[in-house]
């Protein structure tokens, strides 16, 4: 892997910022909210052309091989703009699962398409109850001659309805294994879940004797998923840090211009001190997300601890920033038309998306030997 230089990263970020300012405005985000699509394919295409979908993919499969450090930075910007595109689901987590599977055939077949953005994939990880620990898988696989069929259900699938390829972890007699499913296959149905964050595309997928193609070694399926969750958590932390920073910026801007009692409200200590406390959280979130990315990229022994730390610190910082932002705005942020609740909804969703803050705090303490 070749980390991007600071300069390359800046260039990429600048380009992405310009793209988001053009194609991921609040108005556009709201229109995707209404139709519950989460994003616009033309934006996705532009992102792909910019190389954003290829960051994690190795150069030999047509990717940039830039690794998780670059992904984390890019996700900060995605979070900042409330982007709902399947960057996390497809370009991060699906790619990571395939990489960890060690399945050369699947990799050369799928990674180039994922890198170019021409294929959108997503992972079926948890049973409909929502559990990212692997303890309860919702899908079982059964051999039928040389082939496999899958049955069961998976919940909280990111962009299930829009994906061209589903990658599921399913129980076999020899332990969990990965499977590739075509969404149009026999017995496969996709039900839209009513997500509280309307920019978040979540589905429940049900399979009944659905044919699937096995990936990697049978029995090691969960390790691949765990790798995807590890990188996904770092990417999500970046999204949270970026979202937290943006909603704080929005609030500080408002506190500078909104006048009450003849003064900008930001001159009142009640508002100013809330903002001061928030920037501690926001800067900490940025530190946590970037540290988790670096440690993960290094393959450091203590990388899991740093990921758990990012897992709850970034989630909590985003929720608190968005929640306090509503309070600091006052009545105007109690309206649907104001952007603050979009950040609040996203932050609440992100706090649960791959596991809860309380869960990650517990894992963190375990990782520290406690």
């Amino acid at each position: 892997m070749a980390r991007l230089s600071g300069e390359e990263l800046s260039t990429l970020q600048d380009a992405f910022t310009r793209l988001l300012a053009d194609k991921c405005t609040e108005e556009q985000v709201r229109s995707w909210m209404e139709d519950r699509k989460g994003y616009d394919p033309t934006l996705w295409k532009a992102m792909s052309e910019m190389g954003l979908t290829s960051l994690l993919v190795e150069e030999r499969h047509g990717g940039a091989g830039a690794g998780i450090i670059a992904v984390e930075r890019v996700m900060e910007q995605a979070g900042s703009a409330l982007l709902g595109a399947p960057l996390l689901a497809s370009a991060v987590m699906s790619v990571a699962a395939l990489q960890a599977s060690g399945d050369e055939d699947a990799q050369s077949r799928l990674l180039p398409q994922l890198a170019s953005g021409s294929l959108v994939a997503t992972l079926l990880i948890t049973s409909p109850e929502g559990d990212w620990t692997g303890k309860t898988l919702g899908i079982s696989a059964e051999r039928r001659g040389d082939d496999w069929v899958l049955s069961g259900a998976s919940g909280f699938v990111l962009h299930g309805r829009g994906a061209d390829c589903w990658i599921a972890v399913a129980n076999t007699d020899s332990g969990p294994a990965l499977f590739e499913i075509e969404p149009s296959s026999h017995g496969a149905t996709c039900l839209a879940l009513p997500s509280f964050d309307h920019t978040l595309v979540l589905d429940k997928i049900t399979l009944t004797d659905t044919p699937a193609r096995q990936i990697g070694d049978v029995g090691s399926g969960w390790q691949s998923i765990q790798h995807a969750l590890d990188l996904g958590l770092v990417a999500l932390a970046g999204e949270q840090a970026g979202g937290a920073q943006r909603i704080l910026d929005i609030t500080v801007d408002y506190a500078n211009i909104r006048h009450q009692f003849g003064r900008p409200i930001g001159s009142f200590q009640a508002v100013k001190h809330m903002a001061a406390d928030l920037i501690v959280e926001v800067e900490s979130a940025i530190s946590a997300a970037r540290q988790a990315a670096e440690k993960t990229d290094d393959g450091a022994d203590d990388a899991p601890a740093w990921r758990y730390l990012a897992g709850f610190s970034c989630a909590d910082a985003f929720v608190r920033s968005a929640a306090d932002a509503v309070q600091m705005h006052g009545g105007i942020a109690f309206t649907w038309e104001h952007v603050a609740h979009l950040y609040l909804r996203r932050s609440r969703a992100d706090q649960q998306l791959l596991g809860s803050s309380n869960y990650f705090r517990e894992q963190y303490l375990c990782a520290l030997g406690g």
Binding site: G155, P194, S195, R263, G330, A333, T335, L344, S356
Partner: protein, 401 residues
């Protein structure tokens, strides 16, 4: 006034007998609206039970506190509504304190009988925490006032016959001194009402756009320029009546609870987290806050009745804000991934998410927590006010936005 009041027990017998004869328990859900509401209220008013403490002129009996309480008790015993308007009718109390005789005669009977509906026209987009900074303008034109401006957070605007309006009539004096208070007729062409979509995806409030709307000169309360005084009194009435009207879950979902058990305990049990000490500590704490707020309120009311100060009355809203926000956080933490969802098929998630958003109704609406802390600090604890830079400046020169 010099008449002898009947003794307390006689009052009790009389009101009890009257209720037995007239009240139909089937009407008890109609306190806010319903087909029998006006007819019933008319009966209550005519019988002199609507506001027993008021003079006969306003359908009262000139009762004292003790007799008045007996009437309330008997009404409450059978779940009848319509009495106690001397304590709870914001509109009439405001009229009685500040309106001309004509306006009182014109409006009070209909208000008591529920025939006349009202709304509040206070807040503006530019005047939230700072109500004295309103920019809606009223200008005298012969026997009328012409009103222009925009109000927000008005509930019941579409049904209302009148709105209690605070508007600026003089821009050349400091902000508190240039305000006037009106009963603005709402059913007229200059009033445009647009529903406001809330953060919770509901519409309980409206924006009211006022363009050359007219109010008769007689609908001015107190004098021109005295509006702040009227508003402060009306707000005090409102706060002392309202108590805590925080909304609970909206899903209608009921978890299985043991007799008298708290819903949070039942939810934790359902989620399999009742043995988690971290959750247990938080549930105990938030239930405690709720109980303590109830106790504080009860103590404040008791103090009021023996005539001493009731400083802690004003703490309830701030306390409730913390209770609601923490309850929402706790419900969310009980749900984990389930909280990603909403809607009637996901009632627990619907409730947690709704409460997380609607908690701001209490922490922002009716004065933010921050403004509330100012009020408590200054009025309850006697701490000095901040320097107010716009207090002595002609409003024309005050920076807004």
């Amino acid at each position: 006034m010099t008449e002898q009041l009947p003794d307390v027990e006689t009052v009790r017998q009389e009101v009890r007998a009257w209720l037995e004869e007239n009240w139909n328990p089937a009407w008890k859900g109609e306190a806010q609206e319903g087909p029998n509401r006006v007819a019933w209220l008319t009966q209550v008013v005519d019988a002199g039970w609507a506001a027993p403490q008021w003079p006969k002129e306003w359908f009262g009996r000139e009762f004292d506190d003790a007799r008045n309480r007996v009437v309330r008790e008997e009404f409450a015993r059978v779940h009848a509504f319509g009495t106690g308007q001397d304590r709870t009718n914001l509109w009439i109390n405001t009229l009685l304190a500040f309106a001309t005789e004509d306006l009182k005669k014109q409006l009070i009977p209909g208000l008591m009988r529920g025939e006349v509906e009202m709304c509040l026209l206070y807040s503006e987009p530019g005047a939230g925490s700072d109500l004295a900074g309103v920019r809606t303008k009223a200008e005298r034109d012969g026997d009328e006032w012409v009103v222009n401006g925009q109000k927000v957070w008005t509930s019941g605007a579409t049904r209302a016959d009148y709105g209690m309006l605070i508007a600026r009539t003089n821009w050349d004096v400091p902000k508190h001194r240039g305000l006037s208070f009106f009963f603005l007729p709402m059913k007229q062409p200059g009033i445009e009402i647009r529903p406001l979509r809330q953060i919770t995806n509901e519409s309980h409030f409206n924006e009211v756009f006022i363009t050359d709307a007219r109010a008769p000169a007689a609908n001015l309360l107190s004098n021109e320029g005295d509006g702040w005084k009227v508003l402060v009194t009306a707000l005090a009435y409102e706060r002392s009546y309202m108590g805590e009207a925080a909304r609970g879950p909206r899903s209608g979902n009921r978890v299985k609870m043991a007799e008298g058990e708290d819903e949070l305990i039942a939810l934790a049990r359902e989620a399999g987290k009742l043995s988690d000490t971290s959750i247990r500590q938080r549930i105990a704490q938030v239930i405690a806050w709720r109980k303590l707020n109830d106790l504080n309120t009860a103590r404040a009311k008791a103090d009021l009745e023996v005539g001493t100060s009731a400083s802690i009355m004003s703490l309830g809203k701030l306390a409730m804000s913390r209770i609601l926000h923490e309850t929402a956080r706790l419900r969310t933490d009980l749900l984990d991934a389930e909280s990603l969802l909403e809607g009637s098929e996901n009632p627990r998630a619907e409730d947690a998410n709704f409460l997380a958003l609607n908690a701001y109704f209490t922490s922002i609406g009716g004065g933010t927590d921050q403004v509330q802390r100012n009020i408590i600090g200054e009025r309850v604890l006697g701490l000095p006010k901040e320097p107010e830079i716009d207090k002595a400046v002609p409003f024309r020169d005050v920076k807004g936005g």
